[in-house]
């Protein structure tokens, strides 16, 4: 049987060797052409958010400002389907404010007319989720050059780099570098797309959403630069993706301390129990109770105080 198994092993190894040789041969004969998206793509910028790290907490004033950016700019195209108006309470809004935000929201919630039974819309309530800007995907694509603006509820968890990625995209719009066009003449950004090196294939369908300082008027006195607005929007989206982050961090610290104490106590108990077993390995020798008694007697005889 071992010969059969050895033969099977050799066959697999042989086919792998053939695969390897043919792969290397293909690579040598026709090396893969370099791609502009491999060479000019950039990792997200380094940017710090209050929610970063194991002890991170949201800066709720910043998240509020970010919500303002979302509602005045992003929400024109992007939905926030998993978040409801009542969730805004965590940002520091009170019930009356949330009610007003919901009823003033630019899109209404589909409903049924109670008198006629016909389809209609009504004002949003705090218990509603944010109504999407477009009724369906087809409508969203029709209004956006056939591109679909993604839902933003989980965007910072759904992209490598998280909030820093969102910030980088929002501030990363620029003209295509001449070196790129020189090296890849075919890679010119097509019409209706915008060059953004933080986007995977470099050309994003979203037009630059934040273009001028003061596009949003903050009520808390923060200067609404493009950079600041992008930071705030990213902070808000970090909150929508992970609204329980603060509870998680707080619980985590408590659980880790609890487990640490429990583990230390368990370790001490383990030693207590095993010390006896380690002595009991050999009932003879210097630790044998009989020998110990002998030693004590000898010491007493020699006059050593014990």
């Amino acid at each position: 049987m071992r010969f059969i198994l050895g033969f099977i092993g050799a066959v697999f190894a042989g086919v792998l060797l053939i695969s390897l040789i043919s792969g290397v041969a293909t690579y040598v004969k026709s090396p893969p052409a370099p791609l502009a998206s491999e060479e000019f793509h950039l990792p997200p910028k380094h940017v710090h958010f209050a929610s970063d790290g194991p002890f991170g907490r949201f800066d709720m004033r910043q998240v509020q400002r970010g919500f303002q950016v979302y509602s005045e700019v992003c929400s024109a195209c992007h939905s926030l389907k998993l978040v409801s108006f009542r969730d805004l309470k965590a940002l520091g809004y009170d019930d009356a404010e949330i009610k007003k935000i919901a009823s003033d929201w630019k899109t209404q919630v589909p409903s049924i007319n109670p008198d006629t039974g016909e389809e209609t819309t009504r004002k949003a309530l705090p218990s509603d989720n944010f109504p999407p800007p477009f009724p369906n995907e087809t409508a969203a694509r029709a209004a956006n050059n056939n591109a679909l603006p993604p839902d933003l509820s989980l965007i910072t968890k759904a992209r490598e780099g998280g909030a820093a990625y969102v910030y980088s995209i929002l501030t990363g719009f620029q003209n295509q570098p001449p070196e790129l066009l020189k090296k890849f003449p075919d890679a010119k950004t097509p019409p209706n797309l915008y060059y953004n090196p933080y986007f995977a294939n470099l050309n994003i369908a979203m037009p630059p959403p934040l273009t001028t300082d003061g596009q949003v008027q903050y009520s808390d006195g923060t200067k609404p630069t493009v950079d600041q607005m992008a930071r705030d929007a990213a902070a808000f989206l970090a909150w929508t993706a992970e609204p329980n982050l603060e509870a998680r961090h707080a619980a985590g610290i408590a659980v880790v301390i609890f487990l640490l104490i429990g583990t230390i106590l368990g370790y001490l108990a383990y030693h207590q129990i095993w010390d006896e077993a380690k002595r009991a390995v050999r009932p003879t020798g210097p630790l044998d109770p009989e020998n110990q008694a002998k030693a004590r007697r000898a010491k007493a005889k020699a006059g050593v105080a014990g």
């Binding site: 389907k81 583990t263 368990g266 095993w274």
Partner: protein, 439 residues
């Protein structure tokens, strides 16, 4: 149990005697994990991962049952029920979900350590072949369960992972494609597949629990192996499971839970893929489809076959991937060395560590996009994997000269008498202080 000095159960309380006379459940527990199970006294910490695996199976079943109370198994509702309802509105739902997600990863971490411990110390050898093979059955069931669990949130990786993995079956000629369609209940993963995956994902953990009982039962016949691989000879070689190993497993489980808590609370998405936070979309293939990290070595083996040689490349890959696990069932008969423990096998030991490195390389290769460089490394590593088990191991076991074995377990523990006497000698002093304080 199996040793003549194993203490039979003697009920201390009349109630326990009453129960024991009618249903010897206390007797079973006492013999299985109590004072009635003698364990080799020289077990090191690599032997603690079996209990840890049981712990994570329990965590998975408990968190999973509660999650199932809030989950919606429909293609329209699954993503929102996980990422909306459970993560946002269910009380501590985020904790249940993250604990379940990372519990799966930790289950695999401890099981992989458990398996490699068995490989190093020859735990698969006679008379423990049945323990080893039941363990492999558990592992296969775990893989099936984990795969189906990953499909349930119905994110992009869920969907495309299901597409790729069920696609394995279509590699087989003639029966492959009909089999795949029958398994999925359609031409692509859809409502039928999601519902049956949910149903099976709920069922299989209980099957695992059943096989775990058989695994532990089979273990209790010969008793645990040990780092020397030398058989237990007399009572001095063993200690009762309780309190010695319950205490050791107890604190060590605490330490593992600590690591688990740190990941679950502070980096819950670290081991996952961002694409699974995008709802499943059958029309948009992700840039790269990768399974969860614990499948990466096997995924690398699958992808390493790139040439149609007699059989199509895909069939080679699927056959090799299944073989890579199935060959482990033959291990007790592949490795014929009479010496169990790798500690006394100088040549085997080197190849063992080479295998560990090889599997880590395979994991790296399976976790990323297949660049030409990665393909070459992956192919070499996959070839070594098969050569290791099917060619090198039989040869090593035939030609290797093992080191001399200790005469018994107590002998191996006794080597450093003087060194060991020192800390224990301080013990009486401590008790004297205690008496002084009492006075």
């Amino acid at each position: 149990m199996s040793f003549s000095w194993a203490r039979p159960y003697e009920p201390k309380h009349p109630l326990m005697r009453w129960i024991d006379d009618r249903l010897p459940l206390p007797r079973l527990v006492y013999g299985a994990v109590g004072g009635g199970y003698p364990v080799p006294r020289n077990l090191n910490y690599w032997w603690n991962f079996g209990v840890a695996a049981g712990l994570f199976l329990t965590i998975q079943i408990i968190t999973g049952i509660v999650l199932a109370m809030h989950y919606t198994a429909s293609t329209d509702g699954a993503f929102n029920s996980v990422n909306g309802l459970i993560m946002r509105d269910v009380n501590a739902g985020w904790l249940l979900r993250y604990a379940h997600m990372n519990g799966a990863s930790f289950f695999f971490i401890v099981v992989y350590i458990h398996i490699f411990r068995g490989l190093y110390y020859g735990s698969y050898k006679a008379p423990r072949e049945m323990v080893w093979m039941l363990g492999l059955v558990i592992y296969l069931l775990m893989m099936a369960t984990a795969f189906m669990g990953y499909v349930l949130p119905w994110g992009q990786m869920s969907y495309w992972g299901a597409q790729v993995i069920t696609g394995f079956f279509s590699a087989f000629p003639v029966v492959g494609e009909p089999l795949r369609i029958w398994l999925l209940g359609g031409y692509a993963p859809d409502q039928a597949a999601l519902t049956r995956f949910f149903s099976l994902h709920y069922l299989l953990p209980f099957v695992i629990a059943g096989v775990v009982i058989l695994h532990v039962w089979a273990l209790h016949i010969p008793g645990s192996s040990n780092p020397t691989g030398v058989d237990v000879k007399d009572e001095r070689d063993t200690l009762p499971f309780h309190p010695f190993f319950t205490a050791k497993d107890g604190w060590f489980s605490g330490a593992i839970l600590l690591l688990y808590a740190i990941v679950t609370y502070f980096a819950p998405d670290y081991l996952g893929h961002p694409d699974n936070y995008i709802p499943a979309n059958p029309l948009a293939t992700p840039a790269e489809i990768v399974p969860e990290w614990y499948f990466w070595p096997f995924y690398a083996i699958l992808r390493s076959f790139t040439v149609d040689f007699i059989l199509p490349a895909k069939l080679w890959g699927v056959l090799a991937m299944f073989s890579s696990i199935l060959l482990l069932f033959f291990l007790p008969w592949i490795d014929r060395s009479p010496v169990r423990s790798g500690a006394y096998r100088p040549v085997f030991k080197r190849f063992f560590w080479l295998l560990v490195i090889d599997v880590i390389i395979l994991g790296w290769a399976g976790g990323g996009a297949p660049t030409p460089m990665r393909n070459v490394i992956s192919q070499l590593a996959a070839a070594y994997y098969f050569l290791h088990f099917l060619v090198i191991l039989p040869l090593v076991s035939a030609f290797e000269t093992p080191l001399p074995l200790p005469r018994s377990i107590s002998d191996s523990v006794l080597h450093g008498e003087e060194a060991e006497a020192a800390p224990v000698a301080s013990k009486p002093r401590r008790s004297r202080t205690a008496t002084a304080v009492a006075e």
